[in-house]
Symmetry: C2
Amino acid sequence: MCEANAYFVRNGEEELIMESVDLIEPESDDTWRLVGIFGDRKTIKGRIKQMNLVDHKILFEQ
Amino acid sequence: MCEANAYFVRNGEEELIMESVDLIEPESDDTWRLVGIFGDRKTIKGRIKQMNLVDHKILFEQ
């Protein structure tokens, strides 16, 4: 499976927001809807800093 | 490997932009740098419409 984990980067530290994210969609400006492989959902306010698919990481920042 | 293919959605059609994308990073407003698993690079102007990691798809739109 190729889901990724989502992190929020704050002061250089990566805080785990959500594991096993499948879908990422914009909801509005700087707001993203994350949907996990089990259908769980979370809304994140922030900008995408980097997505590293091979490392399964999605990084958000303020 | 969990790289994805990047598409541009125009008039409902998905045009392949780049295969085997590993890294996605913002370059400036609505401009994204894509780096492939072999280090190849491409810059895309557009907004992220959806990322579907399990399906290995990244969709951009104008």
